[in-house]
Amino acid sequence: MHPIVKTVIQRLMLGVFTLFLVSLIIFSAIQFLPGDFGEAVLGQSATEDTVAAFRKELGLDQPAYKRYFNWVGGVVQGDFGSSFSGRASSGVDRSRKVVDLIAPRLENTLFLASMTALIAVPLALFLGITTALYRNSIYDRVVNAVTLTTIATPEFFVAYILILFLASLNQWLPSLANIDASMSLGEKIYKSALPSLTLTLVIVAHMMRMTRAAIINLLASPYIEMARLKGLSSRQVILRHALPNAWAPIATVIAFNLAYLVVGVVIVEVVFVYPGVGQLMVDAVRTRDIPVVQASALFFAGTYIMLNLIADIIGIITNPRILHPR
């Protein structure tokens, strides 16, 4: 077998194994629930019978490994159980399936994330390459100062400043990103312009700096000096000689930042009341609705692991030392 295929398969196996362990951690979270949790969810007036029935439904009367396999079996089939909210002490179950709660929001979150990625990645590459090209110029310094500031500021600060200038003082964009399925694509983009702009500002900074650093790092190598000495312009040196070798670290950083997007999206969704998984999760944490929290956590962790895995694999594939083994 080609060593590259072998390494990639190894990584994939490792990823699957990590996902398994993560699911184990997320599942075992429910083990640590305080004993009186049934009363906490069902309310003070719950009778002993309803509490017992509730515990039975959660499967707390079965051994842990059995429950884990039931849960994972359900998850694989797209069944995450049903939400805690809406369960009254009367014993009538008005709760909704977690899947029904999450599915439409999943679409919205992915829409926001991909819209941001489509803007942020090309922008970051462009800024990174141009600042490497004209480094130490005024342009470079301004871009650097701005990105350093946005890296260090919390997402909600960026978000509220954007709201202040773009939605409140000048009413150009809506500050409420309450999109729903019935809207047209254009309307959706218009509504989610501010959240995606916020996320873009946050992740562009990191990506741009890494792109710039990766290229500048390469500029010290002998083959670049050779290219310079034979009289190539600096544009050619960077685009034709430095960039091809910088793709691996850049791809890694892009994937890493898209993974970061997964986390950033939670806060931004709350700020702009965007109906995504992040907001659902935060609401569920407040009401301690564990099944919903578990499902959202699994979604976020899974996406995060997958993107990091992709970054790893891109790094392996584009590494010439593994591509051409001796």
Partner: protein
């Protein structure tokens, strides 16, 4: 002074070798610090001062409620009041104490746990190291904000719960770094010598390894502090972190956020929720400036060239 009259080579060498005191060396370094680092140190010391002396600086109490909610700026309330009539300026000052205090406690705890475990793992590279490293790998595969949210939903949002949860999640990063840098030191001959002459593990950790890995750890402390600080602010902003009535910058942003919508009519009022957010951002930037300078000084690391 007979030394000055009769020249002695030994005397001169002795003079040259007279060492500067620690204070003098620190002062010399400070004089050479770039303006960004000086700015950072200034900001950090102002924050520390405000945090320490909050009760003397604040004009009103932390959770003292006045009759007038959403009061305008100026007059009795410098920055107005919030939705239930608490003085924003006083809460900002107390917020410095709570938010920074909690973030600092968390960071120290995460360094105590992550740092000592990392050292132990690096010294005995046996199954203990393997188990801990793999465990950390898995924990780091979950984004920490998501993990924190999940744990908070189970244990509920209490201040100590928050501190312990964030410290545990953060100690994985500290563990990684400590283990990585001490691996380079553990193989040194002087550590081997200490081991051969029968020193115990704590002694080797404290006297042989720790001094040699201190600079990267100090820099990491600054960075981790700002990450922890941002994480706690974010959680409080989401309403699952520090709980009211404790004044805290993250939740203050959320409580007053709706004021931004009225910027056209009352620009000053609209700035209210931005104040705590700006306070968070300023501290993070300041800490980053200091860490940058410290890293450049200790490792000779330059941005590029």
């Amino acid at each position: 002074m007979s030394d000055e009259q009769t020249y002695s080579a030994a005397g001169e060498v002795g003079q040259v070798r007279q060492r500067r005191t620690r204070l003098q060396r620190i002062w010399l370094d400070l004089k050479k610090a770039p303006p960004t680092a000086i700015f950072g140190m200034l900001v950090v010391s102002i924050y520390a001062f405000v945090a320490l002396f909050a009760p003397f600086l604040a004009p009103h109490g932390e959770a003292q409620i006045f009759k007038e909610p959403y009061a305008a700026w100026g007059g009795q309330f410098l920055l107005g009041t919030d939705q239930i009539g608490r003085d924003i300026f006083s809460r900002l000052i107390y917020g410095a104490r709570n938010t920074i205090g909690i973030a600092l406690t968390t960071t120290i705890l995460s360094f105590a746990v992550g740092g000592s475990l990392g050292l132990i793992a690096a010294i005995n590279q046996n199954w203990v190291d393997q188990v801990m490293s793999r465990l950390v790998d898995v924990l780091m595969a979950i984004p920490s904000l998501i993990f924190a949210l999940m744990l908070l939903s189970i244990f509920g949002s209490t201040t100590w719960g928050l501190i312990i949860i964030i410290a545990m999640l953060d100690s994985t990063r500290v563990f990684r770094l400590t283990r990585a840098v001490s691996l380079n030191v553990v193989v040194m001959d002087y550590v081997e010598a200490a081991r051969l002459r029968g020193e115990k593990l704590p002694w080797i950790m404290r006297r042989e390894i720790l001094p040699n890995i201190l600079p990267p750890l100090v820099a990491e402390f600054g960075l981790r502090f700002s990450f922890v600080f941002l994480a706690i602010a974010a959680l409080s902003f989401l309403g699952v972190g520090i709980q009211p009535p404790t004044a805290d910058w993250g939740s203050m942003v959320r409580e007053n956020a709706s004021l931004i919508q009225f910027a056209k009519y009352d620009l000053k009022g609209a700035m209210t929720p931005l104040m705590p957010a700006a306070a968070i951002a300023l501290l993070t930037v300041a800490v980053n400036f200091i860490v940058d300078w410290f890293l450049q000084k200790t490792s000779g690391l330059k941005d590029e060239q």
